[in-house]
Symmetry: C2
Subunit: 406 residues, 2 copies
Amino acid sequence: MKSDFFDDNSDILTGVAYKNIHIRKKIISYFADAGNATIAELCKETNLSVPKVTTLITELIAGGLVKDFGKVGSTGGRRPNIYGLAPDSGFFLGVDVKHNHINIGLIDLQKKLIKISKDVPYNLNNTAESFSELCELIRSFIKDTAIAKDKILGLGLNLSGRINYSTGYSYSFFHFNEDPLSKLLEKELNLKTYLENDSRAMAYGEFNCGVVKEEKNVLFLNLDYGLGMGAMINNELYYGKSGFAGEIGHMPLFSNETICQCGKKGCLETEASGRALIAMFKEKLLTGSSSSLKKEAHDDIQMQDIINAANNDDVLSIELIATIGEKLGRGIALLINIFNPELVILGGALASTGEHLHLPIKSAVNKFSLSLVNSDTQLKLSKLGEEAGVMGACLLVRKRLLEYSI
Amino acid sequence: MKSDFFDDNSDILTGVAYKNIHIRKKIISYFADAGNATIAELCKETNLSVPKVTTLITELIAGGLVKDFGKVGSTGGRRPNIYGLAPDSGFFLGVDVKHNHINIGLIDLQKKLIKISKDVPYNLNNTAESFSELCELIRSFIKDTAIAKDKILGLGLNLSGRINYSTGYSYSFFHFNEDPLSKLLEKELNLKTYLENDSRAMAYGEFNCGVVKEEKNVLFLNLDYGLGMGAMINNELYYGKSGFAGEIGHMPLFSNETICQCGKKGCLETEASGRALIAMFKEKLLTGSSSSLKKEAHDDIQMQDIINAANNDDVLSIELIATIGEKLGRGIALLINIFNPELVILGGALASTGEHLHLPIKSAVNKFSLSLVNSDTQLKLSKLGEEAGVMGACLLVRKRLLEYSI
DNA sequence: CAATCTTATTAAAAAAAATTAATAAATATC
DNA sequence: GATATTTATTAATTTTTTTTAATAAGATTG
């Protein structure tokens, strides 16, 4: 049963009824963020009395959204019951769209990953056919799950480029007609849909199930063909006015003649990105350098090939990645000076080279940022790796539906 | 009478008593931020009934912190009474410390500027004498006001450089011994004291009484001898981990050989700051350029002299300021790409050249930032000008004392 | 300018929530 | 292993708050 709690009628109500809705939302959101809890904990959290919370919880259980998970250990004394969101009363779909493949995943209300399909082949093009193909892949994933369609409450979809999540518009892909892309997807799949910028979704995944512990101001760097950033400021994703924040690829830190995708020269991306890595690698091969990675056609070399080679101790690949790390370090130093973050996370495909990238970045950051500011900031590798995007997409729909529509 | 409301005992209380304290805080904070309000407005804001709010307001009036300001206009129907903070029940002192002078001001609980002394001569040096002198100036300002000393509830003090506002440490000035500077000032002046970074305080002043209307994500640039930034993110000042956020002066955007104050080369500040302006001006005079500004000793030329010359149509000064604007524009473009803000404010001494600086910056920003992102952002000159710092200092103490100690 | 309509304030009644007390269940200690 | 202690749950009572109604004050309109 699609729970009543996802129909919002809080505008009509007044007084006590309104307050009750408000408290219910607070309890749900506590369950959503902090996990399961006892009545006593909820009393502290809500500043309400035990009887009041007990009645509310009883109502929520009757509604099906909350479940009694039975007794739990105690520090001495009667063991309390613990309550939390009923895991199978709702599921959330997340799709991470990359250039050559997609990752699809499904989580339940308790954030548990139920099913994931990684590296599903797919070519992202800005065409109607490519869009249909994407929808078809999602439909087929849904069909393969054992979950009833009406239990899937929403879809989160990550795209690279500029995304305005609040309007649902994508400006880089599938911007065919007047309607926002999220509306198109909703019509096509019959699922409430939220778009998100890929880097920001990865950041959110990492904030929630990754390397972030207590930190409240965190930068996540998505180091892929291009560069992206998701920032968590005061425990919230930062969007800026229209969701375009985090464009770090086009910082003009170099004086070269390479024309960037954005049309300008000297962008960080032109010297420190997956795209730059490929270019440098081909260049090196042409000028006689040797590598364990050999392909007949140079045009066929993919970023992933070089990453794999580096992870298999190919000297040329390792050297080039170190060069990129050194340059990225300059950009990261700049960001540290501006944000004074507690933590900077290195994520995205290039980060899967681990220490090969991490160490050069670290020493460049030490060299280029102000020492007092820099000593405040930790630098860590992503923990979720390839799965950060899917997890972020799933968790973001969940968050939004729980926040806005209880 | 120093009100009871400034003694915090909310930890001891439970249940209803605790809740009442909480609601009172909410009402006070509403008055503090949004200004005066009627009972009906407060009911909406707090989701409480009219009788409840009426009792609370009556209590607050009895306590002396709130005042009934009488009837106010209506849209038809009986005219409601309007309530707000009693302006003369508390005052806040703000000190803006510059290199060659200080500005001191005093506001009341209603944010009204009661007294201000601008351009009080003072030489900021990192010595114990300089510190004593500063204290003496503050004491003398207090003596000159008609306000009883015990009605002055706190002091806000702005310094340039790295300030950790939560610990009260200043790392660039007056860092003599183990104790944080804020503690030293408190002992010396017998006033609760908060330190703040100068750019951030100016930003806060501008956010509250300046050019900011509805915008929630705003960057304020302090363009002075050096460069600083204060960021408002989601309606709050952004500090970063230790309050060091906003170091924009050391973005490595240039490839020159000038050694910056920070010890590195190529910093934005080496080519686009008041310090750079003076250097360029002297250089130009040496190579034969003419200017209406003539001083016997070149060493005597101050930034303010060049600013004044520009405002009096001196061609050389205007040209140099345009050069600086063009370069600043590159840095601002970078910030726009990262923050996607709604508004960027140009403040600090250099901004008092108005359009001479504004226009070159604007065109550089258009040239260097991503167009979709850039078209989102307004660029405006500071409205408060020289007073931004004092206002910010006053308003920040007020905010802190109202928030944490009601 | 009187009648009607809005809105605010005050007072009385009804509902809701917090206390308090009582009971139950588990743990720690002697 | 029995008793005391700690903590949770449930029930009864008291307090608080909301709701409803009544009254007052001012604005609008014919």
